[in-house]
Symmetry: C3
Subunit: 102 residues, 3 copies
Amino acid sequence: MTDRTTVKCLTIVAEAVLEQRLINDLRLAGASGWTLTSAQGAGPRTRRVSEAGGGNVRVEVLATAEVVDRMWSALRERYFPQYAVVAWEYDVKVERGELFGS
Amino acid sequence: MTDRTTVKCLTIVAEAVLEQRLINDLRLAGASGWTLTSAQGAGPRTRRVSEAGGGNVRVEVLATAEVVDRMWSALRERYFPQYAVVAWEYDVKVERGELFGS
Amino acid sequence: MTDRTTVKCLTIVAEAVLEQRLINDLRLAGASGWTLTSAQGAGPRTRRVSEAGGGNVRVEVLATAEVVDRMWSALRERYFPQYAVVAWEYDVKVERGELFGS
């Protein structure tokens, strides 16, 4: 009942125009849910962010390491080379781990 | 002065209509503060979220393990069975730990 | 290629009027990027938050421990004594660690 399992939380911050594309790639990676918030940002590649106007989207995904690794591959192959995208991963504890693929 | 203590950060994402109720339960659990952001989400139970319209609220709470455990109980008893609520917990370091009940 | 390094994520929640000042101090501390989201909050010092009206800003920074320690010093010296500011730090994994000073 009160069992907590460890899953990964992957947070991605990207230009808002990439939102739908990121969601498609999250689905393909096997994620079953995510949380979106509007954000603004500055980064080592800020120039590109500001050129894009329109703000950023902050996407949070809870998933297994396997799913998150697939999303890192997508980021590495199809986002990092072209876009001002920042991502970070950390371990979190959840209840009902089966909802997140555990 | 620079002592950092470890407390729990509990993040809860729920339908926005549950905001006040969550805050009441956080108070009852003994939390002394929280941060709210507007969010949108999709999850394993997305249908229910979208039926509710109105978006999601993302609540972050820094508190002791004891307070966070009480909030997990509230989630398990009064939210998870009925609502599309996602929650996750992780350890964070803070200064002035006494503000968070440490 | 797939090397992940550990950096610190520092999250700061403060009155929105402090946004530009926080960004200046982040730059001085050596941060190269941050993510801003609008938030509302209540805390142990809520009265001061509500007196200020205007909501809160939530700032997330990925950086080395050294940069984050400098920002903690700034918070301790120029924010905590006067403002309702909450901050917390945790370890995260990133790819392309060099972007964050690693």
